[in-house]
């Protein structure tokens, strides 16, 4: 399937819960509402013709004022097509339904995303820290997270990272 056809199938199923679709480099990117996020993944996995049975990764992006973008990359080994499933959750209540009921492999990805970004995965069976030490405070991949070394000593390079 082409990225456009994949987007159309998902839009036909989810209706208004698909907020935007685009395609770049042959990968369909479909943004859905947070409430239907796991449903969209289930539909993509179980629908004949889509068959997104391979869960590649799940992570988040801190988009500042707009909230946190959750990104899941799915792949179909049968049809060899890709899907990037996105949703955006607000900064003050970053909650999204868990995908562990669809892909068991999402378990650790969601735990990591939770500890790094503070995004809560509603219904996750074991939402505890995966990589960080137990006593670690804060969510280090948030842009608001202060790096103490940087506070003490400015970046020694000519340009700030990301400049």
């Amino acid at each position: 399937m082409t990225p456009e056809e994949i987007s159309q199938r998902l839009t036909a199923e989810l209706g208004d819960d698909v907020t935007s679709t685009e395609s770049s480099y042959g990968v369909a990117t479909v943004t859905v509402s947070a409430a239907r996020y796991a449903d969209a993944a289930r539909f993509a996995k179980t629908t004949r013709g889509l068959d997104f049975t391979f869960f590649d990764f799940l992570t988040a992006v801190d988009e500042g004022e707009q909230g946190y973008g959750i990104v899941t990359h799915l792949y179909s080994p049968i049809h060899k097509h890709h899907l990037q499933l996105r949703t955006v959750v607000p900064n003050d209540a970053p909650t999204v339904p868990t995908m562990t009921g669809v892909f068991r492999g999402a378990n650790w990805h969601e735990r990591e995303t939770w500890e790094m970004f503070g995004v809560v995965f509603d219904g996750h069976p074991n939402l505890v820290k995966l990589l960080l030490p137990d006593e670690f405070e804060g969510h280090p991949l948030r842009k608001e997270f202060l790096l103490m070394s940087r506070e003490v000593k400015p970046w020694p390079g000519a340009k700030e990272p990301g400049e």
């Binding site: 280090p140 790096l147 070394s149």
Partner: protein, 167 residues
């Protein structure tokens, strides 16, 4: 250890004892990142640090004389490094191998990386580089052996600060 930790042994005996110790360093590789590959390269045929009396590999920290911390030490790993260091019998030595183990290296501002292994355990020799070449580790081992050759057994076993004489 008996007498040698109560009185300074005469220099000829000290020389022989230290000579024996410095060429029998059972090494314990605390490989934490890519520097460990350079360490392994140093142990293999091309560089072969066994010719300097560094014996790879101790079966565990309790059999080791020398710990080489090679790689990035994270805050989560730090308690394990400290614990295994404490399991090593005296006299024990530590070589910090590579920029990460020395000071955090390229990850100096990370939220998860310790700013050098010397924050948790005493280090005898620092080998700089990212990663250092095997020759640099050989140089570090020679530096450590010079240190062992010149050290006082009495100080070593009474846990007073080590002094290094010029070798």
């Amino acid at each position: 250890m008996g007498l040698s930790d109560k009185v300074e042994v005469p220099p000829p005996i000290r020389f022989v004892l230290n000579w024996g110790r410095k060429y029998s360093l059972w090494v314990f590789n605390f490989g934490l990142a890519c520097c460990a590959i350079e360490f392994i390269a140093t142990s293999m045929a091309e560089h072969d640090f066994i010719r300097m009396g560094v014996i790879p590999f101790a079966h565990g920290p309790r059999q080791a004389d020398l710990m080489v911390v090679s790689g990035t030490l994270t805050d989560k790993m730090a308690p394990a490094v400290k614990r295994l260091y404490e399991q090593m019998p005296e006299p024990k030595y530590v070589i910090s191998f590579g920029s990460c183990a020395n000071c955090g290296g390229p990850y100096w501002d990370s939220y998860s990386v310790a700013k050098g292994v010397d924050q948790i355990i005493p280090v005898d020799v620092y080998v700089p580089g990212c990663p250092p070449r095997p020759e640099a580790l050989l140089q570090g081992i020679i530096k450590l052996q010079t240190k062992i050759q010149n050290e006082s057994l009495k100080q070593r076993y009474t846990a007073e600060p080590l002094t290094v004489e010029a070798g």
